[in-house]
Symmetry: C2
């Protein structure tokens, strides 16, 4: 659906600010508690969170993260799930979200309703209330920004740092072709998987793949090392070649470093017991820089998604 219309009666302008906020509250329904625990005051008030907090923010922007081909509900879902994926990558549990919307008066009301119903659906599914936000005028398109507060699901938070030379590299799900397949808004964030992995001491570091494996893997690679990836082991989405799996981006899968001395078969067996329907693949390991074996994928050719060029 194209999000804009020149028909005033079908657009945001028909409601104005006060009417729009009332409509948003209706569209979100039980996903949005009342003030002071939700929308309607200067801040939202959250119940105490014992322990450390996780904080992450990601937007969806018209023309960049979605276009007319993505249904409005899918846009709302994508916005929420992109952020859930970041919480998943730390081994976290989401607690509350706020949404800031920048949009012009020509945005279609039915587009906006779909967007908020998408947010509400994810909110219900993962039991994460939308506790507040902001709506402001912006004549240059649609920018929706969601901030998520979370807590560690267990005693441990897994970061991108901690992988060592010799560690195995694993990835969840399949890679590549996210845009063409609609995976980029239909994916399920790996929250349960991330929490389970964070509880395994052999998992040393983790991140979620959003800009393509070839690019994002750099952040996991320890100093003096490089990833030696086995092309045959890479879980490509059906119809995707190796290059797509490495470079397309928007996979929202978890990539992790597993201690080199781990019994890989036992680790995979333990995984399958808990997640029988989700693939976990060992795709290579970190070797000394310059020591990549013949036949390993040459990552030099793949740059992944580069913003702002």
């Amino acid at each position: 659906m194209h999000p804009f219309t020149q028909r005033r009666s079908a657009s945001v302008a028909a409601l104005g600010e006060t009417g729009l906020i009332a409509a948003i509250s209706r569209w979100l329904g039980p996903a949005s508690p009342r003030a002071p625990f939700g929308m309607g005051d200067d801040c939202a008030v959250l119940p105490p969170c014992p322990g450390r907090l996780l904080l992450t923010v990601d937007p969806v922007i018209y023309g960049e993260h979605f276009d007319d081909k993505v249904p409005p509900r899918g846009v709302g879902e994508k916005l929420f799930k992109r952020n859930l994926s970041d919480i998943a990558a730390m081994g976290g549990r989401p607690r509350a979200a706020v949404v800031a919307l920048a949009l012009g008066p020509h945005v279609r009301l039915d587009w906006l309703e779909g967007f908020f119903r998408g947010l509400a659906a994810v909110s219900r599914r993962h039991r994460v209330p939308v506790v507040g936000g902001d709506v402001a005028r912006h004549d240059g398109g649609i920018v929706a920004t969601l901030t998520l507060v979370g807590v560690p699901a267990g005693p441990r938070v897994v970061t991108r740092t901690g992988a060592r030379l010799g560690d195995w590299i694993f990835v969840t799900g399949r890679l590549g072709g996210s845009l063409a397949s609609g995976h980029h808004y239909r994916f399920a964030p790996r929250l349960a998987e991330g929490a389970w992995l964070a509880g395994r001491p052999e998992v040393r570091a983790m991140l979620d793949v959003s800009d393509g494996l070839a690019k994002d893997l750099h952040a996991l690679t320890p100093a003096g090392a490089e990833p030696a990836l086995d092309a045959a082991a890479l879980p490509c989405r059906p119809g995707c070649d190796l290059r797509a799996a490495l470079c397309d981006g928007e996979d929202y899968e978890l990539v992790l470093a597993v201690a080199g001395k781990t019994d890989g078969a036992a680790f995979l067996k333990a995984w399958r017991r808990v997640f029988p329907r989700t693939r976990l693949s060992c795709i290579g390991r970190f070797v000394r820089r310059g020591g990549c074996p013949a036949g390993a994928i040459n990552l030099e050719d793949c740059h992944g998604f580069e913003h702002l060029r």
Copy 2:
């Protein structure tokens, strides 16, 4: 400063994403701790916050909240301070911020540096680290969104709800002419004042004035009541008339309801002891609807700032 340039070497496109993130980290300096407590991982990790949390989000948008007349540093300061003002209005203390930036490749690098140095200055002044964020491409202008996590400064959080018939209405500082005077980006958020007011049991409800007193006062007004404001008591900024003070918006001052039986002189005396340089004015009280005394300001004529019309 106009934020855009067609000269590639002077724009964001010259750096690309990786270079830009390194530059942002440099511009923020000590305002931004390293991962996992700051930028560079999927989420930022915050130390435990005992008690409830406050969460608020507000953007600044080119053409809406700033233009070429506001220096880039002022834009960054405004973004941070708008959110601090929301924390102040609840009687809170800010703890950490994340910033999401949507901008095109034609944004001037020196504009962006000024913007982040403005954020860094406010961060240092109020000891609130910028712990993370996102930069994404958007060809429709500049949208910068900041989310702030805070905690109550004392045992009590003050909301917009709680005012009663007969309560006095007070306001900090002066009102009106915010855009013309530059107050809209030069203001100091009322954090110390908000924390002190939240500790006073006679303060029943509070908010910060951002869309103009006439409009924002509705949210404080108890059911069945209306505000009877005394024109002579309204603290207008020099050069501003009554209408400007009521309708201009972007004042970022605190408006509060004080229990009707309070000894106003003693309350003001206690205030002046702590805040000798900040004006606090009693501007009226909440009376029964339809019972406004002759001579009180007629608020029907003033609508304040209305977005999205």
